[in-house]
Symmetry: C2
Subunit: 436 residues, 2 copies
């Protein structure tokens, strides 16, 4: 039986998970593939460190350049992360005629165009299923399974750490800081949690999803990003009372006027499936003109779920090698010369519904002043709720949920509200998506 040789860059979480699956499921994979996927060599930073996989069947090197230049290696798995060395190694591997499977979302989001162009020139494939939403085959679904559709919306819970934090806040009434600290101890969150909680990781992934959904260039810089660090338990609780749940969503939506690329905390009606995706799980909702709404749910991170995506790519690439057809599916789903830029909507032109919480003095006439602000801008309200003041307090919370409207109208309304003499402090704004 033909063997296809794999070289792995990095045996951290994902690299070790990939090696484990390839070894444990070697026979099952060969049954599907008709040839064998064999790990030949892997590079590590320190060969004396303990590993989460059995390394007895392949060579270990501390020189990653050896992996990408090994003449026996057919496919390179890149799981070292980061942008600098990873990019250099990937381009080296491509120049040497190796195919690539990578889990590196930052690298694809920021340098994908350059890498894909090099791969086309060299006649090799770069696959990256593992870069978005771990074990969920959302790249494949968008590139292939939904290829007959004009996609208008991709909305996802695509950062497991952030979703874990929000789930814990809601379920257990714990504060953001408290849960984050636990997540770091459990190893869900990095020591520097910036990428997760500020939405940068989600924005990398959204960049990729939007590109393959709409056939637009990769453009991380155009993603509007808000993190979850400012979310209070107060708002989490009020959202619940109103029948919503708060999730940190990445949303890419297109209409005839352009595309919205955004990552921010979002209220979702509790009855939607995606509102019930808890803990470190991920889910991506895709709306196509033919298929309607589909939801793709699974583990968004972890050694073997992510390794599962890497191995699926290896199987696809191996099928291409056997068939001598590396270019069967274009790297970002559309033909390279058909990738077209669209207008990028600025934040003011986003359209959502909005949850607004205003702290006001408990005096007559305030509600009517507030309502007037919305009416003047033709912002319709879905709900208004006034919470009773705490004992001894003189301020009350007023919560508005608006109908869908343009964000610049909301900006303007908030501006006026915050100058009112009976309003205390800043207005809290959270976007609401009904996802239908």
């Amino acid at each position: 039986m033909q063997a296809i040789n794999i070289g792995i860059l990095g045996l951290g979480t994902v690299g070790a998970g990939t090696a484990t699956i390839l070894q444990r499921n070697a026979d099952e994979i060969s049954r599907r593939l008709g040839c064998r996927l064999v790990v030949k060599v892997a590079s590590v930073q320190d060969r004396n460190k303990a590993r989460d996989c059995d390394c007895s069947g392949f060579e270990i090197t501390e020189n990653p350049h050896q992996v990408v230049s090994d003449p026996d290696v057919d496919i390179v798995v890149e799981t070292i992360g980061g942008e600098t060395l990873a990019k250099q190694l990937m381009l080296e591997a491509i120049a040497n005629g190796k195919h690539i499977a990578t889990a590196n979302k930052a690298l694809i989001a920021l340098h994908g165009e350059e890498i894909f162009a090099a791969a086309r020139d060299a006649g090799v494939a770069v696959y990256y299923e593992a870069a978005v939403a771990g074990g969920i085959s959302i790249i494949k679904s968008l590139r292939e399974g939904l290829a007959g559709n004009r996609v208008s919306l991709v909305a996802g819970i695509i950062n497991g750490t952030g979703n874990f934090i929000l789930s814990e806040m809601r379920d257990k009434g714990r504060t953001f800081a408290d849960v984050l600290s636990e997540a770091q101890q459990l190893g869900y969150a990095e020591a520097d949690p910036t990428f997760d909680v500020e939405g940068i990781d989600a924005a990398h992934k959204l960049t990729i999803l939007a590109s393959i959904a709409f056939g637009i260039p990769l453009q991380f810089d155009n993603v509007y990003t808000e993190g979850i660090g400012a979310l209070s338990l107060t708002d989490v609780g009020y959202a619940e009372e109103l029948g919503y749940r708060i999730k940190h969503l990445g949303i890419a939506r297109v209409d005839e006027r352009g595309v919205e690329l955004r990552v921010h905390p979002t209220l979702i009606p509790q009855r939607r499936l995606i509102a019930n995706v808890d803990g470190v799980m991920n889910a991506v909702l895709v709306k196509g003109d033919a298929v309607g709404n589909t939801l793709h749910y699974g583990a968004g991170a972890g050694a073997e779920p992510t390794g599962s995506a890497v191995v699926a790519d290896l199987v696809d690439i191996a099928r291409n090698i056997v068939a001598n057809d590396a270019a069967r599916i274009p790297a970002i789903a559309f033909q390279a010369d058909q990738v077209k830029q669209l207008e990028i909507k600025p934040r003011g032109q986003f359209e959502c519904a909005y949850y607004l919480r205003v702290e006001v003095n408990d005096v007559a006439g305030v509600m009517s002043q507030l309502s007037k602000v919305f009416a003047e801008r033709e912002i319709s309200l879905e709900a208004i709720t006034q919470k009773e003041p705490a004992p001894g307090a003189t301020a009350v919370s007023v919560i508005f949920i608006t109908q869908r409207t343009q964000e610049e109208k909301i900006d303007s309304a908030i501006g006026d509200v915050e100058t009112m003499s009976d309003v205390r402090g800043k207005v809290t704004r959270i976007r609401v998506e009904h996802l239908n």
Copy 2:
């Protein structure tokens, strides 16, 4: 730009939906594919009947043999349904070197092996994404996206009509017969609803899913099937009270002792996502050893959702044509000579938890007699609830939810319970799956 010509057998719901998508999204599809998919000819039973698609761009014939023998046709879309003529036409098309995309679940479930063998001999591809779960690309996910996994469980809501009926019963307290009659008026259910409500349609689909998940032959005759016609509102309500929801599931599960293939009404804890899949929507849960649980959700029927799956297959096949590689993905995911039969577990060896409702005379000592029946067989109980008798009634309902156990133990327990003098009538049994 290269054109690939499509011939469509049948312009009913799915055929018309496919034609509509191919025409409306022609440019978007070409952007993805790099060539054009052109409908050249379609066959219909009566050329004078009104159509749900624009037929001005292609030839219409009342002779389906013309479609499968047209030398210009590259791919035949089979959407006429049924087993006899559809099979004959498909084999004719294959003999003529045409590739096939079909939505015909019964044909694949019952005659797939013969059709796939003919296709291998002729060097053409037979794709059937549309045969299972409409617009959800579950075939692709199992054949490709999860190719690195050893799959142990596939469990799905794979019949939209049945799920619509169950959702209405729960939400609105309507009887089975009442909802079925409405579903027929709405066109969700056929005039003869047997295939849907008795679970035959779901069993066809489960046959296909199990084959590609486990690499076993297609085997409809080995699927244990129970319909939803006997479900009462009483049980729907009690399930709710206990924190469960009743769904009509197709379940294929494998362990070292064999494979279970079954379709039956099933209680699922309300917090599971799949318990919240309502109306005509479908969802399939897949458990793989590497990826864990994934859920695949979308519209399970309808012209364009199903057409979306047909078009995805056309795109895949067209990529194969351009690359001259029809056999890139084996028809049932595993290589033909690697398909292996496993032991088929008889019903007595199924393992579930069970919901049992027993009507008993309201007299002392009955509960202890009932409990003894379970204890003797080492069947553990998760919950026991006794409902108050209706005013003036002398019988009360006792509801048991058991822990997981073998079905033959439950059969035996029910046998004993039904002979007890204070037990009235038959015991109601519904299986419970926690799907974890």
